[in-house]
Structures are given as structure tokens and as C-alpha cells.
């Protein structure tokens, strides 16, 4: 019997990916940390840890705490900074054929633009993911992400400063995420990715202190999947640009739910901690699903919720 080899390639606007399974920022380091565990060449793309202009040391510990089917993190965007990223990390990443997407974070709009300019034309950077939604840093981040105008302005500035595809990463901590999505679409985003973490908290009842030194943190993992899936569905039906689904995806079935809801690609986050091979297991599962159902192109099942096609 001839096994069908489904075509898993997808396009996020101008960005072409060999398959729609990427790693999510902050959960896969600079990719290299997983080199011994995962054949990085097989991934759709690697989204690296959020990079800021200057190195950031991050929040005091404890920075993570487990919650039911999830975790809270308050890393505080600890990262090596742009310079060290370009010098130490990127050259190693270039050895892989997998596309590298740089997640950028600025304290002000200008910093986003500066980061984008600095990455302009840099070889081995396939696209930018603009983090306007980090709940774990005092200024910037979240403040932009919950305000459609500010999100649009950041997007506009980044677009102006770069020749690379621009993906804007959205915060779920808003009343109507479609409004933000539409705002960044109008401002020129090539794609949106969602969701970043939900703001949450945990308390130690013995010490009566927050379990995170930062008091609050970002909730990720399977716990948030239903919320993420709903928002992806909402946004996919509100904008014309591609949507990247993120949030609680741990297996191929989760990934397929996001595709059916309208995601053009997915990012795998917390699952990497539970199962370092999660991305590859998901790719295998998606391939088998396509084979069983006779699906030739993964795009054929995308945004088919309720259409109930019999392909």
C-alpha cells in the first residue's frame, strides 16, 4: 500500500515554513539547549527567547511554580541581549536548516524599532515575533498589548524598520482580543500569534507570601488550552492575515484543534518541559492523521470548523 506523504508546508504571509510546528518563545531557549534531544532540522521554525536591546537579568527567584495542569512563570524576560544573541547564538543556529524567528521585546516603542533595525538584513533571521504581551515586566510589554493603539504603533514602527516578516504576539488578558488583532493587522502585521500567558498567581499558605517573587506570573500549559483555542478561533474569523496558535498544546490532537479553528501554524511551549520531543511527536501525529484521513495538504483542514468536509 502506498503511504500518502502529506504536504505540511505552510505560509505565514511572506514566510514559508516546511511545516506548521514551531517552538514558542521562552520555552525552548535559543534552540541549542535542545540540540541533544530534538533534531532541530525537523521543526517548522524555532522562535527564540525574547531578545531585548540590552541584556536583562530577569526577576528574582522563585520564578516558576506549578499549578494544576499548568505553570506560572515570572522569568522577567531574562535574556542575553541583542549583541550576545547575534554574536554567540545566531551563528550556531545558522547551521540548522530550520528557520529562526526572533521574538523581540522593548521597554518603549523606540526600542522595538531599534531592535528591528538592528536585525534588518541579518542572515539567518527569518522573521520577527513582536512580544507586546509579556505580563512579567513592569513597563512596556503588557501595557502595549492591552491597548489597540499602542499595539498598532509598535507594529507600524517595527514594519518600517525591517525587511522581515512581522508577527505580532498578542496578550489574552483583554476583553476582546479581536480588536487588538485588527489594530495590528491594519498597522501592517504579516501575521499574529496568540496567546501569550494569562496573568495568574499562587500563594504559599505557610509563609503567606506569593509563591513567585514577582507576585504574579504568566499561566501556561494545558490548563489554558480552551481559552487559547477560543481566542484563535475568534481572531481567525476577524482578520485576514494568518494566525499562529499558541497555548497548552501538548499533543497532535491539540495542534489539530488549533488548525481546525483557523490557525495556520502552532507554537509549542510548556509541553517542551514535559516532553522534550513534544514538537516531533506532534509532527508525527499530524502526519499519521493526514494519512488516515487522506488529507494531502495540511492546509486543507485549516479553518474548517463546522464545515465538516468529507475529504
Amino acid at each position: 500500500m502506498n503511504q500518502l506523504t502529506p504536504d505540511l508546508s505552510v505560509k505565514l504571509g511572506p514566510l514559508e515554513l516546511q511545516n506548521p510546528v514551531m517552538t514558542s518563545s521562552g520555552t525552548f531557549g535559543y534552540g541549542l539547549e535542545f540540540d541533544e534531544l530534538v533534531d532541530l532540522n525537523l521543526l517548522g521554525a524555532i522562535v527564540v527567547k525574547g531578545i531585548s536591546l540590552k541584556p536583562m537579568t530577569g526577576n528574582p527567584p522563585p520564578r516558576i511554580v506549578e499549578t494544576p495542569c499548568g505553570m506560572l512563570n515570572a522569568i522577567g524576560l531574562a535574556n542575553v541581549g541583542l549583541e550576545a544573541f547575534l554574536k554567540e547564538k545566531l551563528p550556531k543556529l545558522r547551521k540548522f536548516r530550520t528557520k529562526v524567528i526572533v521574538n523581540i521585546y522593548g521597554h518603549h516603542i523606540d526600542e522595538y524599532a531599534e531592535l528591528a533595525s538592528a536585525l534588518k538584513g541579518v542572515d539567518g533571521v527569518a522573521a520577527l515575533e513582536v512580544n507586546v504581551s509579556c505580563p512579567n515586566v513592569e513597563q512596556g510589554g503588557m501595557a502595549f498589548g492591552v491597548d489597540p493603539d499602542a499595539s498598532a504603533r509598535v507594529t507600524e514602527q517595527v514594519r518600517k524598520s525591517t525587511d522581515k516578516p512581522v508577527i505580532v504576539k498578542l496578550s489574552p488578558n483583554v476583553t476582546d482580543i479581536r480588536i487588538i488583532a485588527k489594530a495590528v493587522e491594519s498597522a501592517g502585521a504579516h501575521a499574529v500569534s496568540l496567546i501569550n500567558t494569562l496573568t495568574g498567581m499562587a500563594i504559599d499558605i505557610e509563609t503567606r507570601k506569593p509563591k513567585l517573587a514577582n507576585i504574579r506570573g504568566g499561566l501556561s500549559g494545558p490548563a489554558i488550552k480552551p481559552v487559547a483555542l477560543h481566542m484563535v478561533y475568534q481572531v481567525a474569523n476577524a482578520v485576514d492575515i494568518p494566525v499562529v496558535g499558541i497555548g497548552g498544546i501538548v499533543d497532535y490532537r491539540d495542534a489539530l484543534e488549533f488548525f481546525i479553528a483557523g490557525a495556520r501554524a502552532v507554537e509549542i511551549g510548556t509541553a517542551n518541559f514535559v516532553n522534550p520531543r513534544a514538537t516531533l511527536d506532534i509532527l508525527e501525529g499530524i502526519t499519521e492523521y493526514c494519512q488516515q484521513k487522506g488529507i494531502h495538504h495540511i492546509t486543507d483542514i485549516m479553518a474548517t470548523l463546522g464545515s465538516n468536509l468529507h475529504i
Binding site: 531557549g29 539547549e33 541533544e36 527567584p61 522569568i75 494545558p222 510548556t270
Partner: protein, 263 residues
Amino acid sequence: MKEQQLEIVFNRQINSNAWLMGLNAPEMAKSARPGQFVMIRVSRSMHPLLRRPFSICGTKDTLMLILYRVVGQGTAIMAHASHGQKFSVLGPLGRGFTFPDAEGSIVLVGGGIGVAPLFFLAQNLKKHRFLFMAGFGSADEIIPVGEVIGTQIDVSIATDDGSIGHKGPVTELLEKYIAGRDINKKAISLFTCGPKPMLKRIADMSKDQRFWCEVSLEASMACGVGACQGCAVKAASGKDKAYYHVCKDGPVFAITSIDWASY
């Protein structure tokens, strides 16, 4: 570093609250170095979600040994596991102890379950003479080294309640040992692991005494491989980093590298 499904060869309770698990791990048992650790996925469900970190407390042929205390949901699941069951294990992870200089005196100081990485170190110190001091809550919490790693080792015991050995913290044994010695103190190599107050006390002592001391630390972890930046500990001032990551830069650190005030 690998992620493997490892089979439980045995899993037995060895005192009121400590368990010993033997996993069949030909590769990891061979490559592991004292002070390194593994991350165990204790459940197939998503609750508990994250892997649990455990020091390797010894090896025996193809066996990798894990000594653990039942403190919460994850370790309770481990305690219920039986022969033949498999766990996904990620490891060996992190940097181990620096192998001690053959010249000086070697002292291992463990508190409670903190003896685990020191047992593995002791196992590998065969050719060296060393002292082992261990503190426990009381006699029934003692973890017998022979039963764990299969080699009899003299251990000076301290207990909080004085039910056996010295009554008081194990650091008092260490203090006595150091006080009673006239030699160049720098020739002492200390290896330690245990509860925070014990480590802080030793950090204090090592400030005055200037002996060489390595400490194995704990921190909440998610990835175990240096990717998430979750397991930060504050570096002592003057270090090139603000924070170290226990999983990658440690879990073993020179005691002088850490900012003990904030630990």
C-alpha cells in the same frame, strides 16, 4: 543528556520518609557524574505537569539510584510505583562536583535527603580517604549509606533531637572538626548538600575559614536544560552574572559563587 523510558527494578521504603528507587539505565548509569541530576516525569497525565528533579545518589552496574523523600504529589506517585513500571527520565543533567584534589582532607556534609548526591560522590571517592557527616531529624530518619549504595562508610551522625549521635545541627560536628585542626585550612575540601539553614551556616563558616567548598543547590525547575531560565539563584556580588541557573551552571556551585543573603 537523553530522554529515556526507564524501568523500575526496585522501589523500597528505607526509613520513615525516604525511598530508594533503582532504575535500569545502562547509558545514564555509565555517563553520570556525582552531583548530576535527572528530571523524572512521574505521571502520564498533565497533573502533576512538570518533571521532578532528583540527584543521582549512586549507580550499581546498569542501575541508577534515586533516593527521595515523599513531600508532595509527585513523590507520592513515585512511592506508589512498582517493579516493571516505566518512567520517562531526562538526564544526566547539570554539572557535578569537581573531583577533589588528592592532597587535602575531604569532608562531606549532608543534611536529610541532601545526603543523596554525596552518597554518589562517596561511591566515587573509593581511593580517597574522606569524612562523612550527616544530620537528620531523629534516629528513625537516618538514611543508612550501606543500604543505599552497597558500600559501608563511616558516617558521623547528628540529630536534632539527640536520639542518636550528636544532638544539634550537623554543622556543629563540622565546626568541632575544623576547630580541632591546626593544619592549613585551605587544604580542606568540603562537599555539601542539605536544607537552607544548614547551607547558609556553612556559607558563613567558609567565609571565615576560606576552605574550598562546593554545594549542591535546589531550585524550582521547568526545563532542566538551561532553556527556561526558571531555576535562577542570585550570584554573589562581583560575579560575571547576576543569576546562575541551577540546572545548567549547577546544581553544584562553589559556595562563594552564591549570594547567600538572598538564597
